[in-house]
Amino acid sequence: MGKAQYKVEGGKLIKVQLEIKANKIKKVKITGDFFLHPEELIEELEKAIEGAALNEQILAGHIKAFIKKNEVVLLGASPEDFAKCIVMAGTNND
């Protein structure tokens, strides 16, 4: 299981717990003190990136698409920040 945390400059703290399989996301948990509206969609967002390649640009693209499709508002962090922290957790994998 990989773990990482990333403090967004002028924003919030993101923490990621990650399981990967063949360089793809098997399971991810994104926690932290950011704001995401509607809140319940965090779990759907986590599900939506399962199976995605552990690549910052690709992940940011998936997260952006999810946000757009579901009219999600993210405050204190950006899709790129989430993607960055997920990849960090992937490289901390043991």
């Binding site: 003190d33 704001f35 995401l36 809140e39 204190g76």
Partner: protein, 256 residues
């Protein structure tokens, strides 16, 4: 005609009821059973609330809390972990219909608008408070109030804290620290970054004095009149149900 909002002072309650009641008021507001509401409340016993997206295990030293009789609860709003001291903090909630002219589609803008009532109230106490994005109020560069907002059922719910006194070393005995070596450093950093009414004004400010100033602050900033009211039966019933079925359950509090 000046717009009238309901003012509630629900006093001391446990963390689970406090969070349940906020949601119950939002439910009642969404059904138009009550008017827009400002609620003041406090915590007995002292408690920690964590943000919707935080992990209880990662943020809270639950064993230390259990030993000291401190409650811990997950909020329906995002943001960070907060230690709510029974005697050192006042908490407020605003529950407003989303169509109200104070509410913008933009969250950041709405934080600033709703916090302007607090800022104005604090200034009436001779505290040169200012709003600091994303969701803080600061004085002399130090945080004195944290706020968090959620929306749903066509209702905006914002709650937040105002510190009367602060004890950073107690905070870090109940909040988790990444490792023991940096505990002192964290305590020191909170001492530098956070202030309270009492330490800033160098006198003891009472809850009543603070509430009176905030009521005036909200009334003048929002052009409203706050009228002392009571909870409805339906709010009390919904709160009891939400406490038992949601906020007091491990399923909710440990869900992330």
């Amino acid at each position: 005609m000046i717009e009238e909002w309901r003012l509630l002072d629900t006093g001391l309650h446990d963390a689970f009821y406090n969070m349940a009641l906020d949601e119950a008021i939002a439910v009642a507001r969404s059904k138009n059973l009550v008017s827009n509401t400002l609620r003041f409340f406090r915590w007995e016993p002292s408690a920690i609330s964590i943000g919707y997206f935080q992990s209880m295990e990662e943020e809270v030293d639950t064993l230390a809390c259990n030993a000291r009789g401190i409650d811990y609860v997950r909020r329906r709003t995002g943001g960070g972990a907060v230690y709510h001291d029974r005697d050192g903090e006042l908490t407020y909630s605003l529950i407003i219909n989303q169509g109200h002219s104070l509410i913008s589609k933009d969250f950041q803008e709405t934080y600033e608008t709703l916090c302007s009532g607090l800022v104005h109230g604090l200034r009436l106490l001779e505290i040169q408070a200012e709003f600091k994005p994303i969701n803080d109020i600061i004085v002399g560069g130090r945080k004195i109030s944290g706020n968090a907002q959620t929306r749903g059922m066509n209702v905006v719910h914002q709650h937040g804290t105002i510190l009367l006194k602060v004890d950073p070393s107690l905070m870090f005995t109940v909040l988790k620290v990444p490792n023991e070596k940096i505990r002192d450093k964290l305590v020191k950093s909170v001492e530098e970054r956070v202030t309270s009414l009492n330490s800033f004004l160098k006198r003891d400010v009472s809850f009543d004095e603070l509430k009176e100033a905030l009521v005036k602050g909200f009334e003048e900033s929002f052009s409203i009149r706050l009228v002392t009211g009571t909870l409805t039966k339906s709010e009390e019933q919904t709160a009891a149900k939400l406490k038992a079925e949601k906020y007091a359950t491990n399923e909710w509090n440990f869900k992330r």
